[in-house]
C-alpha cells in the first residue's frame, strides 16, 4: 500500500551545530533555511496533509526562529517534534508555549565516552535538557547511535536512561562507510535490546534495523507495528537547501545531489513522492534483497547500502545476506 504523500516529514532547518566526532549524515556547511522559507514549506506540507514533522539539523535548537516555526506548524494542526543535540535549551519554555509535542536528545555512552564524542560537558547538558523538557511536560526521548565503539556500553547506557523521566530509548544504527555494525553486531544489539525489554526497559530499535522483525527476538521486542525501512513509504526528508530525499542519511548536499534529488521549490511534494524514479527504486528494496522472502517487510537499510557501496546493492549489516551466511558456515 502506497500513501499519496508521506505521513511524516523530517525538516532539516539548518546544518549548523557545534559538532561532534561522529561522522554525521548532515555535516555543518553553513546552510540554513530562513523562517520565510520554512513557513512556505509548512504551508506546502499542510496543504498536502502531512501529519507529523520532525525538525532536524544540524542542531535545531541553535536555529534562531525555532519556537516561531513550531508555533506555525501547530497552527496548522501538524504534530511537531525536534531531534536535538541538547546544545542550547534556552528556548525550552518558548517551545512549550508554541506547542512542541516531542523532543529527542542523544546519549552515546556513559559520561566520559559521551563527552569524548560530543564535547566536554555535553553529557550534563543532555541530563539538564531532559529534565528541563520533561518538567515542562514535553514528551522526551533519548536516541543512542550504536557504533562498533559504544556497543559494549548498551546496558550501561540503558541503566542511565532508565533513571531519567523519558518516554523511550531509541537505538539507532551508525551509518558509516567503514565503521558500520557487522551482521553479527546487529544481531548482538537486537538480542540485547530484547533482553532489556524483558527487564521492562522502554527501549526500541529504530527502523534502520530493517531486518529486526525476521530475527528470533522480534516476539520479545513486540514489533507488531515495525515496518522496516520507512523511507519513501511513510516518510521523507526536506533538507535546508530544499532537496527532498527519502531518509535523513541522504540529507547532506553532496548526497542529495548525487541522487539528483528534486527540490521542493520546483515541484510539489505529491509529484515528487509519486513520480521520482529514485524513490520508486528505493521503495522496492535493495538489489540483493529481491529474492529474500522478507523483501516486503524489510528490503534492507538503503542508507547503509548507499553509504558503503554508493548504490542500492546490499545492506552490509544484514544477518540474512548471502555473504554473512557464507561466513557463518
Amino acid at each position: 500500500m502506497m500513501f499519496s504523500v508521506p505521513t511524516y516529514v523530517y525538516l532539516q532547518v539548518s546544518r549548523e551545530c557545534r559538532g561532534c566526532s561522529l561522522e554525521c549524515y548532515a555535516p555543518p556547511d553553513g546552510s540554513s533555511l530562513t523562517l520565510k522559507e520554512a513557513k512556505l514549506i509548512v504551508d506546502m506540507l499542510s496543504e498536502a496533509k502531512v501529519f507529523i514533522v520532525l525538525i532536524d539539523g544540524g542542531e535545531p535548537l541553535l536555529w534562531d526562529e525555532i519556537a516561531k516555526l513550531v508555533h506555525y506548524f501547530k497552527n496548522r494542526s501538524i504534530a511537531t517534534a525536534i531531534v536535538s543535540g541538547a546544545e542550547d535549551i534556552s528556548e525550552a519554555e518558548s517551545l512549550k508555549k508554541a506547542g512542541l509535542d516531542m523532543i529527542q536528545f542523544p546519549l552515546e555512552g556513559p559520561e566520559e565516552y559521551h563527552d569524548t564524542i560530543r564535547g566536554e560537558g555535553s553529557f550534563h547538558n543532555v541530563l539538564e535538557a531532559v529534565n528541563a523538557f520533561c518538567n515542562l511536560g514535553i514528551y522526551t526521548h533519548i536516541g543512542t547511535v550504536m557504533t562498533p565503539s559504544n556497543l559494549c556500553y548498551l546496558e550501561e547506557i540503558s541503566d542511565i536512561v532508565s533513571a531519567l523521566p523519558v518516554r523511550v530509548h531509541r537505538i539507532l544504527r551508525y551509518i558509516h562507510p567503514t565503521e558500520y555494525l557487522t551482521p553479527e553486531q546487529c544481531v548482538d544489539v537486537l538480542s540485547r535490546i530484547a533482553h532489556l525489554m524483558e527487564k521492562g526497559r522502554a527501549i526500541t530499535p529504530t527502523n534502520c534495523y530493517t531486518f529486526a522483525k525476521q530475527t528470533p527476538f522480534a516476539k520479545k521486542m513486540n514489533l507488531t507495528r515495525f515496518q522496516g525501512c520507512v523511507g519513501g513509504k511513510t516518510s521523507a526528508v526536506i533538507t535546508c537547501d530544499g532537496y527532498v530525499v527519502p531518509c535523513p542519511h541522504f540529507a547532506s548536499k553532496d548526497i542529495a545531489e548525487s541522487i539528483n534529488a528534486p527540490r521542493i521549490w520546483d515541484e510539489d511534494m505529491k509529484t515528487i513522492w509519486q513520480e521520482w524514479d529514485f524513490l520508486k527504486e528505493f521503495r522496492q528494496g535493495l538489489t540483493e534483497c529481491q529474492n529474500c522472502p522478507d523483501l516486503s517487510l524489510c528490503g534492507g537499510c538503503r542508507a547503509a547500502a548507499y553509504c558503503v557501496t554508493g548504490s542500492l546493492e546490499c545492506d552490509p549489516g544484514c544477518p540474512f545476506s548471502n555473504d554473512y551466511v557464507k561466513t557463518e558456515k
Partner: protein
C-alpha cells in the same frame, strides 16, 4: 443520536479509504472506503439512522445490516475520541 467529527481532526483520502489523524494524540487511524463514507456524514446534523440509510442506498443493500456496520464504526471512532455525540 447525532455524531460529529472533531473539528481539529484531519482526514486525508487515500486509495484504500483514508487516514484520520488526531493532532492532539498524535495518532493516525486507517479507515476503509465505507468508513470514509460514514466519516464524511458525521457532520453534526445527520443522525445514525440517516447515515445508515444513505450508506445502504449507495451500496444498494438493506439498511438493517448496514446500520450495525455504521454503529460499529461510530463506536470505534467514539472510543478513539475522534467524534462527539449530540
Amino acid at each position: 443520536m447525532i455524531p460529529e467529527r472533531r473539528e481539529d481532526v484531519i482526514c486525508r483520502e487515500e486509495e484504500f479509504g483514508a487516514i484520520i489523524f488526531d493532532p492532539e494524540a498524535g495518532r493516525m487511524h486507517k479507515i476503509n472506503k465505507t468508513g470514509l463514507f460514514i466519516w464524511n456524514l458525521c457532520d453534526g446534523k445527520t443522525d445514525v439512522d440517516a447515515i445508515a440509510e444513505t450508506l445502504a442506498e449507495s451500496e444498494e443493500e438493506s439498511s438493517a445490516p448496514v446500520k450495525d456496520a455504521v454503529k460499529a464504526f461510530l463506536k470505534d471512532m467514539n472510543e478513539r475520541k475522534l467524534i462527539r455525540w449530540h
